[in-house]
Amino acid sequence: MDRILKITLAFTALLFLILAARLYELSIAGSDKLKQSSFNKRNIIASINAPRGKILTSDGTVIAESTGNPKKKRYYPFGQKMAHLTGYYSTRYGASGAELTFSRVLSVNYAELFWNTVPPEPGNIRLSIDKNLQLKAYSLLRHKGALAAVDVKTGKVICLVSYPSFDPNNIDRDFEKIRKNPDAPLLNRATAGIYPPGSTIKILTLAAYLEEGGNLNDTFKAPPVYRIGGFRITNYDKHDFGTITLDDAFKYSVNTVFAQLGLELGAGKMKSYMLKSGFGKKTGIELEEKSGHLPENLNDPINLAWSSVGQADLSVTPLQILMLVQAVANDGLLLHPTILADTPPDPIERIFTVETAKKMREAMRKVVTEGTGKKANSIVVKTAGKTGTAEVEGNKPHAWFVGFAPYENPEIAAVVVLENAGTGGEKAAPIFRQLIDYYFSR
């Protein structure tokens, strides 16, 4: 074979290798993501005319089932109120939520049908959702945002609401309209909404500082404006606190003190605590989820300082902040969140020591009794938490509140985010309190 044929052959071989590599990528390396795509009708088509399993809440109430004969239709008794949990299921538009994640459990397994003569039964899925709390949460959240709560000892999600919602019963009729709605009702804001954490990040900054040997009664200067290079970090309303202790700075959410904390800890420590707490990556919950972004270039002091008070380019999902507080309430042990009722608790790691977690709970209690979060103070049960007010350029800030209850022996943690609603203490804290009141007064 002469030189020219060898070159042609080599070129042909190159084309073959390109095909093989891409085939590997599609069929093996990247196949999980494609299989789970909400546009992939395989997730729903297997059971168009076959019965599909039910989705239940923790008490066994049906929230999604197949009705109609012989042509099956998916029915959601609670419609919009549980839409971001059940998701939708459509032969035209695919599936979302639990319908998508657990599609292969809920549908009849056709591979099994091949080997067995008796048609297999579809599986049911029982969620960890507390039905009544979920309905209460839905009625409380009347503003664009998210509200969710977990059991701090198990990581099980007990309610999860995103507003605005959609009715999965009419998905075939309304899909295009819903998809084009600028308020994005399909977006699950609790798990896939990305927000600057605002002052709720101070939980992480403070805990990191305590872990590194700091104390709640260490004192700091708290001027109205703190200058780094040519940039300034200011307190809310430019308030001057003089010299204050750290727990007061946390209580009143003093930016200028927390900027100093972050700078003292340094970029490496801040970043490592963010990573440890699960920021910048998915929590692994069984719903559509985003990972958020870790701040870039923390070595720049101004970025580090802004990140320590929850602004700059750090962004998180409400669920990530909720799980941070779950760890605080659970003596520092961070768990994997889940929406399944019957899975055992799945610990990730102890991100803070028991002592740090205890000090953090004290500090968060004071936020509610004396600080910015007084509207979260309940007469039913002792609550604790942290407010957040994330500045948004050219609009009202996002209001955050994240906390847990009861203070002495925590059971549940909850998070509230309201987009462009105002301050966390004014807008988000009352919603948290009403949810907790309902939970403990039943």
Partner: protein, 409 residues
């Protein structure tokens, strides 16, 4: 005796048996009907080309079995139509081979062959009817066929004949001044540009790309000069840029390729379904008949590879692609032993054309390149493609070998 060929053909049958057993249990004659033509071709080889390569036909048989198994899981109707196509292709193939043999040196008639190619490219423009937005098909009585498939075979015969005669003048070492060398290029260039324009006119993008690549590869093998190839590639890129801006359907295809997730239930529906089929296959596939070919538009023509990949997995799809690559390798080997330049160019051109069309279709379904409506040789549904592919391979076999009686030069 060509016992290696016979043995390998029997091996192909026994390998295909479990597949047919799963896809059409109790219908053993499906397997026999699909494989009988290859034993007829074996007999033909035995009589006329005793010394020809014995590995090529078994690879073709293997690919054909893959193709029929795939059609069986898509729709039994396609399976039977394609079975008819197979026997028709066999008949036509024998017919053409006899003509080629009678001609003694087919390349002698290069300009006639070129004219036939042009006429075949022109037919759809006059009698064509539009299917899938492109005017590719010609109907004769109850038959409809795609003349460009056969056209490319004649085009390749023409180029091989022409370059085989003039290749010394066109080479870099040639003493001729540049303008005269270029003058010698003109007839081939004219034919190619004209063919390209015709195909672009009937919106047959895949085929224009294939014709262009056939022109380039034969030019390269004949002249051993990469300047021509680089120049032509440059012209192609300019052409592609112009068509992107001039033709809406080209722009659509390219936009879908660049943003496959942009319109999941509209324009990019097909390409996403293809991705999903690959993903569903995993390593070993869902098993024949347990995929969802119904989800893929044009499943039996453009989308055969993702459907095959869904049911047989990464391994099955890789085996199919590797078989075509092997076929190409065997033909390159034969080209290396060809007796004269025209034969070398023809056989190597055949090899490249068969693999490159596979590459274009496969990469289209995988999102490497925009989707083009071409076929995978011996695997995709369609009689014209099957006839052309079979004839290309068989004529290459006929022309190969040091001592064959069919080319007198």
């Amino acid at each position: 005796m060509r016992s290696v060929e016979l043995l390998l053909l029997l091996l192909v049958i026994s390998a295909a048996f479990p597949g047919f057993y799963v896809a059409a249990p109790g219908k053993l004659f499906y397997l026999l009907a699909v494989n009988l033509p290859f034993f007829l071709l074996y007999l033909f080889h035995l009589i006329f080309v005793k010394k020809a390569n014995q590995f090529i036909l078994p690879v073709v048989a293997l690919l054909t079995n893959f193709g029929f198994l795939n059609l069986l899981q898509i729709n039994e109707k396609y399976f039977f139509n394609q079975l008819k196509n197979l026997y028709l292709a066999l008949l036509l193939c024998f017919l053409f081979l006899v003509v080629f043999m009678r001609a003694k040196n087919i390349f002698h008639y290069k300009f006639t062959l070129g004219l036939i190619a042009l006429i075949l490219f022109l037919l759809p423009l006059i009698f064509g009817r539009e299917i899938y937005g492109a005017r590719l098909w010609v109907s004769l009585a109850s038959f409809s066929f795609q003349p460009s498939e056969l056209g490319r075979l004649f085009f390749l015969l023409f180029l091989a004949g022409y370059f085989g005669e003039h290749h010394i003048l066109l080479k870099r070492e040639s003493e001729l001044p540049l303008d005269i060398r270029f003058a010698y290029l003109v007839p081939a260039l004219f034919m190619s540009v004209f063919s390209l324009l015709l195909l672009i006119f009937v919106k047959d993008l895949g085929f224009s790309l294939l014709i262009l690549s056939i022109f380039l590869i034969t030019l390269y093998i004949a002249t051993e000069n990469n300047v021509y190839v680089l120049m032509s590639t440059g012209i192609f890129l300019i052409g592609a840029y112009l068509s992107y801006n001039l033709f809406q359907h080209v722009k659509n295809r390219i936009d879908i390729w660049l943003n496959p997730w942009s319109d999941p239930f509209g324009k990019s529906y097909q390409i996403l379904q293809s991705f999903f089929a690959y993903a569903e296959g995993g390593i070993t596939g869902t098993g024949l008949g347990y995929g969802f070919p119904g989800l893929l538009p044009a499943a039996h023509t453009d989308m055969v590879l993702p459907i095959w990949a869904e049911s047989t997995g990464f391994l099955g799809a890789l085996l199919m692609l590797a078989s075509i690559f092997l076929l190409s390798l065997l033909l390159y080997y034969e080209a290396g032993h060809a007796r004269n330049p025209a034969l070398k160019i023809y056989i190597a051109g055949t090899s490249f054309s068969l693999f490159f069309q596979t590459f274009l279709v496969a990469s289209g379904t995988m999102g490497i390149l925009p989707l083009t409506g071409l076929t995978i040789p011996f695997v995709s549904y369609g009689g014209s493609s099957l006839t052309a592919s079979l004839l290309m391979v068989e004529s290459a076999l006929l022309f190969s070998g040091k001592r064959n009686r069919w080319i007198v030069s």
